[in-house]
């Protein structure tokens, strides 16, 4: 009798362990961990891990040529006054899609992967999400040049093409390369160069940088999905899960 019971309990135990192993990832998957942020208000953060904000010293990019540094045109107050507009303004008036603000640098290895994935996802789920791209050139002059070129290309409606080329190239974006790229993509190079140096573009970049500071991001890639801030390279699955969570979010949210 005892031996039969022992066998039964052993089997039951095995079943539980098996079930646990099988279901654990699902449970893990389903439970997205969010932490509400006090600042900026109404937002929350996803994960965090080792590089949770605060533990890194505040930082705003590797030193570039100080003389070329343009004057500060955007203040923190300006951006804080309209965080949603700063994040998603480039997408136009809100619709029922979840908006994603993506921050990246062309010379950060993981940004290339994240940007490519996110762009593909935005295309695949165009009815559910829309991506606002923010340039965050933290890695010196080449990063800065690439970011400015991409934003200038956006003014000619060729941002996506430019971005695609830039994340594919192992080249450092120097003037000659940007000229070649313009010719290939069919962008007016003279206008591009003019726009690259324009105040409007500087303002746009400074807004992105300010957002990065306000959200206490420490590196790239980083993104804000609806009202959820996430740092580091995160998987398509996680992005989709956050988007779903945002879709089901009944709170007023921040935006």
């Amino acid at each position: 009798m005892t031996s039969r019971r022992a066998i039964l309990s052993l089997l039951a135990g095995a079943a539980v362990v098996y079930g646990g192993v099988k279901l654990a990832p699902l449970a893990f998957e389903a439970d997205l961990e969010f932490t509400d942020l006090n600042d900026p208000e109404g937002f929350r953060s996803f994960g965090g891990g080792d590089y949770s904000s605060g533990s890194f010293a505040p930082f705003i990019g590797l030193s570039t040529d100080a003389e070329a540094e343009p004057a500060q045109l955007v203040t923190e107050q300006d951006v804080r006054a309209d965080i949603c507009g700063s994040l998603y303004g480039q997408l136009g008036p809100p619709d029922n899609r979840i908006r994603i603000a993506a921050f990246s640098d062309y010379y950060c290895p993981f940004c290339r992967v994240q940007t490519r994935n996110l762009a593909a996802m935005a295309e695949q789920y165009s009815d559910r999400m829309a991506v606002a791209w923010h340039e965050l050139p933290l890695l010196g002059d080449a990063s800065e040049a690439a970011a400015r070129a991409a934003l200038a290309a956006r003014r000619q409606g060729r941002y996506v093409e430019f971005q695609e080329q830039l994340i594919r190239t192992p080249f450092a974006a120097n003037d000659a390369y940007i000229e070649t790229l313009s010719a290939n993509i069919g962008v007016d190079h003279a206008m591009l160069v003019q726009d690259m140096a324009s105040d409007a573009l500087t303002r746009e970049m400074q807004t992105s940088k300010m957002l990065y500071r306000i959200f206490r991001f420490v590196g790239t890639p980083a993104m804000v999905i609806g009202r959820t801030a996430a740092m580091g390279q995160i998987s398509d699955r996680q992005i989709l899960a956050i988007v779903s969570s945002e879709e089901g979010d009944l709170s007023d949210g921040a935006c």
Partner: protein, 710 residues
């Protein structure tokens, strides 16, 4: 010059360490270390070997200590495709004339298809600082900028201050042992910059289109885990190197695809690393690409490998029995047992044994030929005989006649002629006939390069006499297993259903199968010899069958006609062969010609590359083409703009393609692989393709799925 400095510097550091050990002077802890700047990614500090500046001392040794947390990395002076090397700015310092940062040998990191070179764990970047005024105090004011990445890239900007006073001439007072040791440890990892006997010479060749850089390094050093890091100006980026060793590991040959070329690139500097040894040398330019070393490691075969390969060959041989080109032969043989149901057991037994011997005989003959050809330096590929129009035509004639017989157009009743003996062996007794059946089955098996069969064969071809003999024997044993089985247990054959009407149906079916095989051979022939040859061969074969079927013709003209037609059918194929008929393009997909170097270039642009290695004589390849590659959705996916379809034609032996296959430890085809941002090293598909597998690999390679798996 750099090396001289480094060596001086190692000496200095080591001497310093020794002095401290012997004098046992307690130095103030961290006297020559700045405060550690901490972050979750890395702790960074600036250290110096000296606690104080000795009188007349004109230089100091410093180090930027970067202790990276688990999973974090930072970069070498050439970071790879993207990335950012650490920078140190000492311009705010006092009494500093010149600063030189040295770079310990890097490691290679590959993530998401991006090649990066750098460091993980702890690294000390040694810095040699020359003083403006020897012997006077130094105030170091440094700004370090470095990029650290895990799954996020964080740029760190840190400031350090370190003051070194002028010290007395007691050396011990001026050296911080711990710091000196740490700097010395990493200074020893800085690649040596002069040629030695061990690393005597590195030469390099860049092809005219700047697609690949080929490197050859010679010396007495025996490489074990080498890596190659060429540098050719700031903007030049390389893909993954294909590294080969030769001459007992003393010659290193490497080929790297050039992903991007710096317009002003000078001759390359090559850094070679192997374990804890490293060297950086200017490469001597070559006029042409150095030849890759011969794959010596294949010549010595271990017993276990040989057993394994023999097992594969045996399994492959067994599977060959159910291949469409062999199954009919086996079935016919079985049918003979069915028709002669009352045959004595011993007769059945010896009959099947004879067939098995026939298989073995053919295999051994093939082994002998292979060995002979290998001896005179000819490359032999399995199924290579299918490039020969004569051989193809002969097979077509035999198969067609055989098929016609099965379908019932005539009965072969004269086993005295050789080709009819082959065909009739199924329905007639006699050891010769049985033997021929076996041999015939083996001949027919050749084009059916089933999975893993290719591996065994190619292994045999690259191996020695022993390898060849054992592989072909195992192959033969596998193919003849059914015959042996029936010879041992004749009941197995007698357990077959009793003869009846179904037999005729079966016979016709088998005949149709043979006809199908013949039709396929016709198709192969059209690829090898062109249309004219095909028309001639098929017409003559049809006539031949007609003559055979017309029994009312007088004996002599009928036999003469048969002989003439058979010979004409076979000879015409080679006589009328169109030499220009090479690879055919029957597909709508635009296949680019295989270019191994271009793969990495396409991938670096975010494109997906589909590689198909095929040959006209490869049955499985043809099946893949017809069933998967030329059908939607695969055909459609392959024509997409971001997908490059490359076809390598192995119909004729090609050294480059063979080498490419060998890099995957594959020696036979079909071979298909998909590369892309999500799979920079390639996803190798199984020999028998399925639409689903191809589509999955394509989407995985396009990188969309990779992130999803994290």
């Amino acid at each position: 010059m750099l090396l001289e400095n480094a060596t001086n510097w190692i000496c200095l550091a080591l001497r310093a360490a020794a002095v401290v050990v012997f004098s046992q002077v307690a130095t103030t802890a961290n006297a020559a270390t700045t405060e550690i700047q901490t972050s979750p990614a890395a702790d960074v500090a600036l250290i110096t070997a000296e606690n104080a500046i000795a009188p007349l001392s004109s230089s100091i040794s410093a180090g930027l200590v970067i202790s990276l947390s688990d999973g974090w990395k930072t970069y070498w002076r050439s970071p790879g495709e993207v990335g950012f090397p650490p920078e140190l700015d000492l311009s705010g310092s006092e009494n500093v004339a010149e600063v030189e940062m040295l770079w310990p040998a890097p490691h290679r990191f590959t993530a998401f298809g991006i090649e990066n070179f750098g460091y993980d764990g702890e690294v000390v970047l040694p810095i040699r600082i020359r003083l403006e005024r020897p012997g006077e105090p130094v105030a170091l004011r440094a700004t370090a900028s470095l990029l650290v990445c895990s799954d996020i890239c964080v740029p760190l900007d840190m400031e350090f201050a370190l003051d070194l006073p002028a010290g007395s001439d007691t050396e011990a007072l001026q050296i911080d042992r711990a710091s000196a040791d740490r700097i010395a440890e990493f200074a020893a990892q800085v690649p040596s910059e002069i040629a030695s006997e061990e690393f005597a010479e590195i030469s390099a060749f860049m092809d005219a289109e700047a697609r690949t850089l080929t490197i050859e390094a010679r010396g007495t050093h025996v490489y074990s885990t080498p890596d190659v890091f060429p540098e050719m100006g700031e903007y030049t980026a390389f893909g993954v190197p294909d590294i080969r060793l030769g001459e007992s590991g003393t010659v290193l040959w490497a080929q790297l695809p050039i992903l991007a070329l710096d317009e002003e690139a000078a001759d390359p500097f090559i850094t070679l690393t192997d374990g804890d040894q490293a060297v950086t040398l200017a490469a001597t330019p070559l006029d042409r690409a150095p030849e890759p070393p011969f794959a010596v490691d294949r010549m010595r075969t271990e017993v276990t490998t040989l057993l394994w390969i023999a097992l594969l060959a045996f399994g492959g041989g067994m599977i060959l029995n159910v291949m469409p080109c062999v199954l009919p032969v086996l079935s016919i043989k079985l049918a003979s047992v069915i028709s002669g149901g009352g045959k004595a057991r011993s007769e059945t037994r010896s009959g099947f044994l004879a067939s098995a011997l026939g298989v073995m005989a053919f295999m051994w003959a093939l082994a002998a030929i292979t060995f002979g050809l290998q001896q005179i330096g000819v490359t032999v590929g399995w199924g290579l005989q299918f490039q020969n129009p004569m051989f193809l035509a002969l097979m077509i004639v035999i198969l067609a006649v055989f098929a016609a017989n099965m379908i019932g157009l005539f009965e072969i009743s004269l086993p005295s002629r050789w080709q009819t003996r082959l065909a009739a062996s199924g329905s007639r007794g006699g050891f010769a006939g049985d033997f021929a059946t076996g041999a015939f089955a083996a001949v027919l098996a050749t084009p059916c390069s089933a999975p893993f069969l290719g591996t065994a064969i190619a292994f045999a071809l690259t191996g020695g006499a022993m390898d060849i003999a054992s592989v072909f024997t195992a192959l033969g044993l596998g193919l003849s297993t059914p015959y042996f089985a029936i010879a041992i247990y004749p009941r197995m054959a007698q357990a077959m259903p009793k003869p009846g009407r179904w037999m005729i149906v079966l016979k016709v079916l088998l005949g149709l199968l043979l006809l199908l095989t013949a039709a396929w051979l016709v198709w192969v022939l059209s690829g090898v010899a062109g249309k004219t040859a095909v028309i001639a061969t098929t017409t003559l074969t049809a006539l031949l069958i007609g003559v055979i079927a017309m029994k009312r013709l007088p004996e002599v003209p009928r036999w003469a006609g048969m002989a003439i037609l058979a010979v004409a059918a076979v000879v015409s194929a080679s006589q009328l062969a169109d030499q220009s008929a090479g690879s055919r393009s029957t597909t709508t997909t635009e296949w680019a010609v295989f270019d191994r170097a271009a793969i990495a270039q396409h991938v670096s642009r975010g494109e997906v590359v589909f590689v198909d290695v095929t040959a006209d004589w490869c049955l499985t390849c043809q099946a893949n083409k017809v069933l998967v590659l030329d059908r939607d959705p695969v055909a459609d996916a392959l024509t997409a703009e971001s997908v490059i379809a490359m076809r390598a034609d192995w119909t004729r032996p090609d050294e480059g393609i063979s080498r490419y296959l060998a890099s995957f430890d594959r020696y036979g085809i079909p071979f298909n692989a998909v590369y892309g941002p999500g799979a920079p090293d390639g996803i190798v598909l199984s020999e028998l393709l399925s639409t689903q597998a191809v589509m999955e690999a394509l989407s995985q390679a396009s990188a969309r799925e990779v992130a999803g798996e994290n």
